[in-house]
Symmetry: C2
Subunit: 302 residues, 2 copies
């Protein structure tokens, strides 16, 4: 038995196209429909055969669906939900893959007050964008967080959980507000910092752009990967998870100021103690299968 | 003809042991001696056969050398140089692999006023430490920066350049002060920021350590790799390149504050513009062969 028989994917970028590919692999009998607001993306998706049927309007893509997954920037969720409202079957479950959740839940609820809505966030991705960037194994052994609103039908939550588990994900259920706090530190602040330092390095007069690029293997290049992520997606994340991001940013800035002071006053012990403490976090992440244990992410495959 | 016939490596951690392995491969006829202040490391190096001869004192390791490379934390350079001074042949060239250069040059010059000193910094490494972490290809297509003091013998600079090129590196020559500024932005600040955010994430009350680890694939895990680097090495880098690091840190903090303000006031255009600009830097780094072009550093090998 499939958790869902007719799945509609709205937005066929990295995430949407990865879900399509993963469904094909894990649930070959499920019917897949799709839509993207960009006509070029629709053409590419057709050429790739990502889903059974690519519609030219969002409404046409959802008429038969029992699960609709919105894979668009979080700032676009409300408008997309409005655009499918008239064609959406009454019993269809609405979900998404957005990186902020309280805001998305509010937008979807406002647009579709009579539908079952269970927001979801698969914590997975790469720095690439577009339908060609997706791949079926993106969710393997990654966590997918469901944030059902109070009063959600437990059977529907279980059904969505089964869907994500079939795609290879581990599923966790939590409140949208807690999700937003957790992701603010594990994902949103890291992206903000990466974007910032790449910007800072680009604006120097004393060090040329060419030098920054040549000597990037000293650490900087790691940040450029994250800072190559989709600009629209990330703009929306920061605008829709403002409070949690600002809270984490404030803590980070305080800690950075403390280190700045330690450097200025030559307090080697303070530096050494922090640098020792942070090693253990890396070990835990590797032990729990959340990163490659090979040195340097296995870049060199030595 | 070998650039150097008898090479002595003081300090047999990640860098020292990688040089030993790379010399074995590229210059099998060169004689290699070595020393490490840690007796366990000496034992491991003997068991691995890293060099022809591991001495039990630093002086004994350099008596025959025509090139001595100090591969110790930058804060230890001066003391190590003093410890070999009495045994060092008059014509031996002294170099190192430290990540800050003006301070190292001063320390080495004070300890060995009558020797030729040409500091060097191969911009290469991983987050691992110790003699077993090294590998021969570490320097392939990485940049090695030489910072010869004014009045250096051009023939000796060329000789050291030939040595590093034989190990697979591209060589650049610049002044120590400029090196320190360039590396402050491309390496030192990235490490400082990574250590900070991992510390910040470890100290939260609202988000558990276990959540930070579970959801680290959203971006945070990238920072933990850098923050797993050697604590002693990095403490010394910040203490010996204080001015340049504080200057870059000040610029970064200003830029971060500007982004913080953009988030608080909902200025999506400011965010979008920066996030678009930073993508180009990543492209250049990949085009110039300084990082893996595969998505996510090729972690998943999809």
């Amino acid at each position: 038995m499939l958790p869902f028989a007719r799945i509609s994917i709205i937005g066929l970028g990295l995430l949407g196209s990865s879900i399509a590919r993963a469904v094909r692999e894990a649930m070959p009998n499920a019917a897949l429909s799709g839509y993207d607001s960009d006509s070029e993306t629709r053409e590419t998706a057709r050429a790739l055969g990502l889903v059974d049927d690519i519609s030219d309007t969002p409404g046409a893509a959802v008429t038969d669906a029992d699960l609709v997954i919105l894979c668009v920037p979080v700032g676009a969720m409300g408008a997309v939900a409005v655009s499918i409202a008239a064609d959406l079957p009454a019993e269809a479950l609405i979900s998404d893959v957005g990186s902020s959740k309280a805001n998305v839940l509010a937008a979807l609820t406002a647009a579709l007050p009579n539908h079952a809505i269970i927001p979801a966030h698969p914590v997975a991705g790469t720095e690439r964008s577009g339908p060609e960037a997706g791949f079926a194994s993106l969710f393997h052994n990654r966590w997918c967080i469901l944030t059902p609103p109070e009063g959600s039908d437990a059977a529907k939550v279980a059904q969505l959980q089964a869907f994500w588990e079939k795609l290879g994900a581990n599923v966790e259920v939590m409140e949208a507000e807690h999700h937003d706090l957790v992701l603010a530190i594990t994902s949103h602040l890291p992206h903000l910092i990466a974007y910032t330092i790449v910007g800072t390095a680009s604006d120097l007069e004393s060090v040329t752009q060419s030098e920054v690029i040549k000597y990037s293997a000293g650490g900087f290049r790691d940040f450029t990967r994250i800072a190559a992520s989709d600009p629209t997606m990330w703009r929306d994340v920061f605008l829709t998870n403002k409070d949690a991001v600002l809270e984490m940013l404030q803590r980070f800035s305080e800690d950075l100021t403390a280190l700045q002071r330690a450097i200025r006053w030559g307090d080697g012990d303070a530096l050494f103690n922090l640098f020792t403490r942070t090693r253990a976090v890396r070990r835990s992440i590797i032990e729990q299968g959340q990163d490659d244990e090979r040195p340097d992410f296995g870049r060199a495959d030595h």
